[in-house]
């Protein structure tokens, strides 16, 4: 497998320096850490938002740093949660005294490491709160559901809430409302290749796809023979809609997210069917986003996220964001 890298051991370090070199006026790196923060952090009088997780999901999470979204992002090794000391550095660098909201995806490693960071913060009297994103309906038990592309909506909406001057409790509450109303399901067409081992993250035959895949290649619901974009859109939507509890007057936001190796051309072919099915079913779409937002290295495939909106969420979704990966 050919990769555009130097030393696999240096991949995270070099990526972070590259991100800063690309946006020197907007982000800075905390020295000797894997933490990127807003150039102007801590932002006076504002609740800070921190997210993070393993690397390999770019533009998540550093691409969402900006006015109106995240104050900081913590990067772990590829697909590996960052350690508590790194998260703690992000907390210290972004807290303006108003407290810090930790946006955590529901993986045992992420939950444990961020938890330990929150304990470290508590020992230094820094106020933190956390929300755990669990939007992936491929996992039956709602408590065990993984956090996937729906996390971007949490960054966007909670980030706008914080930017508007809300308290830590209010930002947390709004973030939780987004989580409660967001559902995602994904599909993989081909696996990603781990940079350190050079091996595929999981096995998938040439003529097979996997429904309900996670963003680290964790198993989904089932392997199927390859299907067309329209068939996949239909399948995902049929599983997502019953989870949404939509009333006739409800409007939703749609995110079609590429997993890394699927061209935008194909994502739009997929989106065409998603939109026509939603129209057929009388579901009103308020906002649609198509692109690569929460990837899995060079996995091919996509995920579909639906978010049920109310007036508050619509206003916050539309609010300005300067984050390079989600400009509004």
């Amino acid at each position: 497998m050919k990769k555009l890298i130097n030393d696999p051991e240096q991949i995270i370090d070099e990526m972070l320096d590259g991100i800063v070199a690309g946006s020197p006026d907007d982000v800075r790196r905390l020295e000797d850490t894997t933490v990127l923060v807003r150039k102007d952090a801590p932002v006076e009088g504002k609740v800070a938002l921190i997210s993070g997780g393993g690397s390999g999901h770019e533009p998540a999470h550093a691409g969402y740093i900006g006015k109106g979204m995240l104050d900081g992002a913590v990067s772990g090794e590829v697909f590996t949660s960052p350690t508590p000391d790194q998260v703690f550095e992000a907390i210290k660098a972004t807290d303006s005294g108003q407290g810090v909201l930790l946006v955590i995806k529901n993986y045992s490693g992420d939950v444990m490491n961020f938890d330990m960071a929150a304990e470290l913060a508590e020992s230094e009297d820094i106020k933190t709160a956390q929300v755990i994103v669990r939007d992936d309906i491929a996992v039956d038990d709602p408590e065990s559901r993984r956090g996937v592309a729906g996390t971007i909506f949490v960054h966007k909406i909670a980030g706008a809430k914080a930017e508007a001057g809300a308290s830590l409790e209010d930002v947390q509450q709004t973030a939780q409302k987004v989580i409660d109303n967001t559902r995602t399901m994904g599909v993989a067409l081909s696996p990603c290749i781990m940079p350190t081992s050079g091996e595929p993250g999981f096995e998938l035959a040439d003529d097979e796809i996997e429904l309900g895949i996670g963003i680290h290649g964790e198993a989904g619901i089932e392997k199927r023979k390859h299907m067309t974009a329209d068939e996949i859109a239909t399948e995902l939507l049929e599983r997502l809609l019953p989870e949404m509890d939509l009333a006739d007057s409800d409007e939703i936001a749609v995110m079609v997210n590429g997993m890394g190796a699927t061209p935008e051309m194909e994502l739009n072919v997929f989106n065409r069917k998603v939109q026509s099915l939603l129209a057929e079913k009388g579901v009103k779409v308020y906002d649609t986003t198509v692109g690569n937002f929460m990837t899995s290295l060079e996995m091919a495939g996509c995920s579909l996220t639906l978010l049920k909106l109310d007036d508050e969420l619509k206003e916050l979704l539309d609010a300005p964001s300067s984050a390079p990966a989600f400009k509004k």
Binding site: E77, F79, M112, N113, H216
Partner: protein
């Protein structure tokens, strides 16, 4: 005395060698039911542990505390907090004490409690708990025996093969997780096996 500062350092260095040697095997086990990084993360973290143990240490507790902080900051994933917590609890349980068989049982008990609390897990969920828990039961039975420690840990590790995972990333594989050893149970078995070897050779 069961182990002193020197034996503890030897144990951890041998464990690092073992992890480095079995890195690919552990990652292969993890690829089957997780995300394939267990071997790489553990080997990377414990290399740093081994490198940090050339200083002078006053007692076993300080060695284990140093190990805990290094593991927590260098391993990452779920293994970092879990092994980091285990070493921290072991360190606290032997603070100001000589490590004899009784104290060692208390250390394992504290570590197991820490692992369960941090990972919100119990016995039978196909995790490292399923090695630490039988080892604790064996240690409580009295007379310390290095060979029995190793055998108990090995059998416990083998037993995870037929279990169904309900915790961690392996749980997404549900019944498909059966028939695979739990990678965390295997790395825990190595830890006890290396300790048994260090103690066995010293006796």
């Amino acid at each position: 005395m069961l182990i002193g500062v020197e034996e503890t350092i030897q144990w951890l260095k041998n464990y690092n060698d073992k992890l480095s040697e079995q890195k690919d095997y552990l990652s292969q086990l993890d690829r089957a039911i997780g995300d394939g990084d267990h071997g790489i993360n553990m080997a990377r973290g414990f290399q740093q542990v081994a490198d940090s143990l050339d200083d002078d240490f006053d007692d076993v507790s300080t060695v284990l505390k140093k190990t805990a902080t290094t593991v927590m900051s260098k391993v990452g994933g779920a293994s970092g907090p879990l092994y980091g917590t285990a070493f921290l609890k072991m360190s606290m349980a032997c603070k100001g004490k000589e490590v004899d068989a009784g104290v060692f049982a208390e250390m394992v008990e504290a570590a197991l409690g820490g692992i369960k609390q941090r990972g919100k897990s119990e016995e039978g969920e196909k995790t490292m708990v399923d090695v630490w828990s039988p080892v604790l039961d064996m240690l409580r039975e009295g007379e310390f025996d290095a060979e029995r420690l190793k055998k108990t840990a090995e059998d416990a590790m083998q037993n995870t093969e037929d279990m169904t995972a309900t915790k961690g990333r392996a749980s997404y594989f549900k019944e498909r997780s059966q028939g695979n050893l739990d990678p965390g149970a295997v790395s825990s078995y190595y830890l006890f096996a290396e300790l048994a070897d260090v103690i066995g050779k010293g006796a």
